[in-house]
Subunit: 332 residues, 2 copies
Amino acid sequence: MVESTTTIYDVARVAGVSMATVSRVVNGNANVKEKTRQKVLDAIAELDYRPNAVARGLASKRTTTVGVILPTITSTYFAAIARGVDDIASMYKYNMILANSDNDVEKEEKVLETFLSKQVDGIVYMGSTLDEKVRLALKNARTPVVLVGTIDGDKELASVNIDYHLSAYQATTKLVNSGNKKIAYIMGSLKDAENTERMVGYQEALIEAGIEFDEGLVFEGNYSYEQGRALAERLLEKGVTAAVVAQDTTAVGLLSALMEKGINVPEDFEIIAGANSPITQYTYPRMTSVNQPLYDLGAVAMRLLTKLMLKEEVDENQLVLDHEIISRHSTK
Amino acid sequence: MVESTTTIYDVARVAGVSMATVSRVVNGNANVKEKTRQKVLDAIAELDYRPNAVARGLASKRTTTVGVILPTITSTYFAAIARGVDDIASMYKYNMILANSDNDVEKEEKVLETFLSKQVDGIVYMGSTLDEKVRLALKNARTPVVLVGTIDGDKELASVNIDYHLSAYQATTKLVNSGNKKIAYIMGSLKDAENTERMVGYQEALIEAGIEFDEGLVFEGNYSYEQGRALAERLLEKGVTAAVVAQDTTAVGLLSALMEKGINVPEDFEIIAGANSPITQYTYPRMTSVNQPLYDLGAVAMRLLTKLMLKEEVDENQLVLDHEIISRHSTK
DNA sequence: TTGTATGCGTTATCAG
DNA sequence: CTGATAACGCATACAA
């Protein structure tokens, strides 16, 4: 158990071959006689040799590591996506360096810098807002990047999303059809392309139903549970009877505050959550929700990234996955 | 924008100094004249030079990266801990390679192997069960390891936990005091040291209250929401009127199934959740829960790991953080 | 099929 | 205070 790192040279010596040969068998190169391969394998086992990935990375310029940046891993939304990323990543033998950005531009820039210095082979970026500085940094990086749940207006960066415009239209229409006249929409910052798309979908649905658009019924959510709770009163005051809430935690907060006020959901108030993360099913009543294929968003993004990293042909780098609205018990 | 990786040599040439000097200023070595330092800094800025962390890692044998292995990041429980780890890690300039193990021993071994080959400076391990093979691998690693929310019976590995025995005793006693005679305990596998500790605390509380221990009221949970739901009926059949549920998601499942059956919580059935992850507060009614300082568990673990990595003095490597029971509305 | 030699981009030792 | 120069552990082009 003295162990001073055993290197490829040690293996070569014990196996009676050159280090190049050892390297070949370690890397599965076919040009090795079966007999020598076995000798090397034996020596590796005997010495308990483990290739040094850092040295390998320096020599090959590939680290088999991807950087993943997201607002916060404590969000079930991002956690689900990250899980999809990791599963595909490990399937392709990549590891994932994960960093929380809290949607803070400075942190994002710093993390990006670190990722690049660590020579990650690719980057997966999630963030509601795509700041212009970050967008440029991402674009200029000589490392493949895939955005998830984040829209690059210029469509220069590869991305995987759902059709936010359509989902907003559908959710709003569903609430219109069950008789609601005053429908609120709670979404993230309107500076994000994703939310302007939602806004348009919302407006279209209203117009189609002959309902006048009221700017006062659109709220910028901040992803917090507490905000959802706080919103309950304001919505009630305005006579709102239904709401689409893009952020699940906020939707759950709203629901819980309404229930505590004795408002019947869905009889007196309908809610549609926006991402169908697990928590929407942990509430009582369970919430109707737009089902974003979170895991798949991550999985598909990572798969796309592998292609980019391996310089494979990619015909379309703006991927849009299907969503659906799952009716549970927070709508009629 | 042609950019073929600019190295320390390029900077040296432009600054008119040797690479050694560049290395010094990059690493904040004091032995550099202010004037030359400025020249180097200018050259770095001009060339947009970024140190290659891989080369640095090979030369210095330090990667400023720690490996984090956990069952699944989609669990709010582990996600909260991971957030604590990452915050402290980045505070100390470390990055986090995250890997999901699904509590699968083979995956754990494989991940561990990968972490070591990537030369991580330290490892944070979370997993309900600590398999003997994994325990040995961890113990033999020449890399510092800290367990979180995981008990090593031999106390050889550093760890950060709460007092599971005490928390079980307190939760059970609370339910006893509000008049319950049939109290169920739903916890993870009894093969885990953590849960045998809980079991003892549970039994002690019952004995103290003169209530006979009934093995049939102890269930092995599997962390799923669905299992919580399924358990509702069985508990009711047995005449159980209260339960301590170590896993939050299972507790939430149980609560929702009871509510749907028209059982009043807490009037007819009391529940205490075991980890106070955010979802326990998203339910209606909000759940009384043992509050494990999840974020702190991660933060303290990472802090401890930094000490181990820097070979600082550590007087105690078996850390126990305080917990509390937060009374909300799923208990009387 | 195998071996030799060189380079990857730093850190670190040792002179000066 | 600064500059050569030797590792670091491996991949790989080139020879044999």
